[in-house]
Structure formats: structure tokens, C-alpha cells
């Protein structure tokens, strides 16, 4: 496969940053959800 290095770098950046962002949101959500009363969490 030609340009394998470029492709690997590009896909790693995309998937890596999406995963990092998702993980950050989830972690933050967990931390905050503990501090807010359940009846104010509209998705429950």
C-alpha cells in the first residue's frame, strides 16, 4: 500500500482524537452526574 505512513498518521489522528474527546466527555459526565440530583437528570 502506498502512502501507508501518511494514511496511518491521518487515521490515527482522526480516530485518536475522537476517542480522546469521547472519553473526556464520558469521564466528565460521570463526575458531574454524581453531584447533581437524579431527578434533575432529564434522561433518567
Amino acid at each position: 500500500m502506498r502512502f501507508a505512513g501518511y494514511l496511518a498518521a491521518g487515521y490515527t489522528i482522526v480516530l485518536g482524537s475522537l476517542a480522546a474527546y469521547a472519553a473526556r466527555i464520558v469521564a466528565k459526565g460521570r463526575r458531574l452526574a454524581r453531584q447533581v440530583p437524579v431527578e434533575e437528570q432529564r434522561w433518567r
Binding site: M1, R2, F3, A4, Y6, L7, A9, G10, Y11, I13, V14, L15, S17, L18, Y21, A22, I25, V26, K28, G29, R30, R31, L32, A33, R34, Q35, V36, P37, V38, E39, E40, Q41, R42, W43, R44
Partner: protein
């Protein structure tokens, strides 16, 4: 208010683990992960490399580049729509404001990824990381405008005021896209021939490649939905916490003044303070209020 929270954390929160996930989002997340796997398979194994004029395997960039660009523009459209709904008095609610913010933040991430993948792809097919092409330039300007939008959302200000201003900025930034695009397009076309390399941007696509591209768009749409739902819920929690922090700060001032002995004030765990996370976008409360 504070006693209420104590009880719920002791009793209510135990059976359900605290998170922003629900059964529905877990299914959505699972499907998204599966789709991402299939997309990688399609992009790297199943789909063919394009002909020599398209730079061979470089075309595989298309399957993340085009979907993320498409999703970036979609999320800004969603942001503008929600902002308009927030500004309109009859539909004004925190819901639309927070949804607009969540969508814009996810969109900004997507647009950054679009620029990065586009640059790398451009390096392969055009030999340069950047050209002053109309679409590239418009995207870059849009990126900066939404960085500004996110900055407005982070400003220390009364929540209502901040939301209203952010909504106006979000709408203007979106309305400005066609003007920027037109001006940049004329700017380039009036002054020089469209770059020879420009034709490579839309390579002939057919069959499996087209299918892979469409599948990529679908996958990224699922991903967008998952991210926005979770980001919205985090924003919602921050919003609740900010409101609660305000009430608590007032209660504390009252207690300091010796107006009443409220044992629950001491019982509140430290992390639930009025400024829980200095790095969080909306974690700050207005200093004027928290100051004694």
C-alpha cells in the same frame, strides 16, 4: 436544596451508576463502534485504490475527510437552528442553548479533523499541505469563527446574557459562510486559473468507493449523534450545578452572617463547590456573585 442533594447521592444514585449514558445511547454507541470497524474494513481492504491520476491509495483519505467535513457543516447548521430557536421567545429554553453549544463543540472538533486530514491528503496528491482553494479557505475561516463562538460561551457572565449573545454569534457565523465562500471563490478564480491539482479533489467515484463514502457519512452521523447527546448531557449537568452553586453560595453567605444554623452546609462534599472545575467550559460561576 443542599440536604436534598445529600439524600439523593446517598440513596437515589446508588442503584443507577452515575453517568450520562442510558440504554439507548449504549446501543447507539455499540452500533457506532461496529460501523467504524466496518468502515475501516471497507476503506482499507474492500475498496480499490484509485487510478494513478488520483494518487493511488491516497484516495482512502476520502472516507474520513469528506464525512467529517460534511458533519462539521451539519453540526453548525444545527447550532444556528438551535440558536434561532433559543432567541425566539416562544421556544426559548435552556435546552436549545445547551444543544447549540454541544453541537458547535463537536462540529469544531470535526472541522479541525477535516483540516488535518485534508492537509495530509493534499500533501500526497498536491505536494503541499495547504492551497488557497475556496473550499479550504472557507473551512478555515469557519473554524476560526466557531472558536470565537466557543470563547463567547466560556465567558464569565450571567447565564441568560451569555446564552443570548452566543446565539447571535452562532447565527451570524453560519450566515457568513456563503458570503465568505463566494468572496474566496471569486478571489481565486479572478486571479488565477483553478489549480491543476484542484480536479483531484473530486476523483471519479463509482461502485464500492461510492458505497464506502456513503457508509462513512452514515457512520460519522451516528458518531455525531452519540457525541452530541453526551456532550449535551454534560452541559446540562454543568448548567444545573451552576444554578445549584448559586443557591448554595447565597445560603453560605446567610450562614456566615449567622442568620440560621444549617447543618447541611457543612455536610456537602467539597467537590460540589461553586467552582468545581476551572478547566470546564461552563464550570465557572460569575465571580461577582460568589465573592463575599
Amino acid at each position: 436544596m443542599t440536604t436534598l442533594r445529600d439524600e439523593t447521592t446517598r440513596t437515589g444514585a446508588r442503584p443507577v451508576p452515575a453517568s450520562t449514558g442510558t440504554a439507548a445511547t449504549r446501543v447507539l454507541g455499540g452500533v457506532t463502534l461496529l460501523a467504524l470497524g466496518v468502515l475501516l474494513y471497507l476503506a482499507f481492504v474492500a475498496s480499490p485504490a484509485a487510478g494513478p491520476s488520483q494518487g493511488f491509495d491516497a484516495v482512502r483519505f476520502m472516507y474520513v475527510h469528506v464525512p467529517s467535513a460534511w458533519l462539521a457543516y451539519l453540526s453548525f447548521a444545527v447550532c444556528a437552528l438551535c440558536s434561532a430557536l433559543y432567541l425566539w421567545r416562544r421556544t426559548r429554553s435552556r435546552f436549545w442553548d445547551l444543544l447549540a453549544g454541544a453541537s458547535a463543540e463537536v462540529g469544531t472538533l470535526f472541522i479541525a479533523l477535516t483540516l488535518v486530514t485534508g492537509s495530509i491528503w493534499g500533501r500526497i496528491t498536491w505536494g503541499v499541505y495547504w492551497t488557497w482553494d475556496a473550499r479550504l479557505t472557507t473551512t478555515a475561516v469557519l473554524f476560526v469563527m466557531f472558536l470565537g463562538y466557543l470563547a463567547v460561551r466560556r465567558v464569565a457572565l450571567d447565564v441568560e446574557v451569555r446564552s443570548r449573545r452566543a446565539a447571535v454569534v452562532g447565527i451570524i457565523a453560519f450566515l457568513n459562510v456563503p458570503i465568505v465562500h463566494n468572496s474566496v471563490q471569486w478571489w481565486r478564480t479572478l486571479h488565477q486559473e483553478p489549480t491543476v491539482l484542484r480536479t483531484d479533489l473530486s476523483p471519479q467515484i463509482e461502485g464500492l468507493m461510492l458505497y464506502t463514502l456513503l457508509f462513512g457519512v452514515l457512520t460519522f452521523t451516528l458518531l455525531y449523534a452519540w457525541l452530541v447527546v453526551h456532550r449535551f448531557r454534560v452541559a446540562w449537568l454543568e448548567d444545573r450545578l451552576e444554578a445549584a452553586g448559586l443557591g448554595r453560595a447565597i445560603a453560605e453567605r446567610r450562614a456566615e452572617a449567622g442568620l440560621d444554623e444549617d447543618p447541611a452546609v457543612e455536610g456537602v462534599p467539597a467537590p460540589a463547590g461553586p467552582a468545581p472545575d476551572p478547566s470546564g467550559p461552563a464550570g465557572r460561576t460569575t465571580p461577582e456573585v460568589t465573592a463575599p
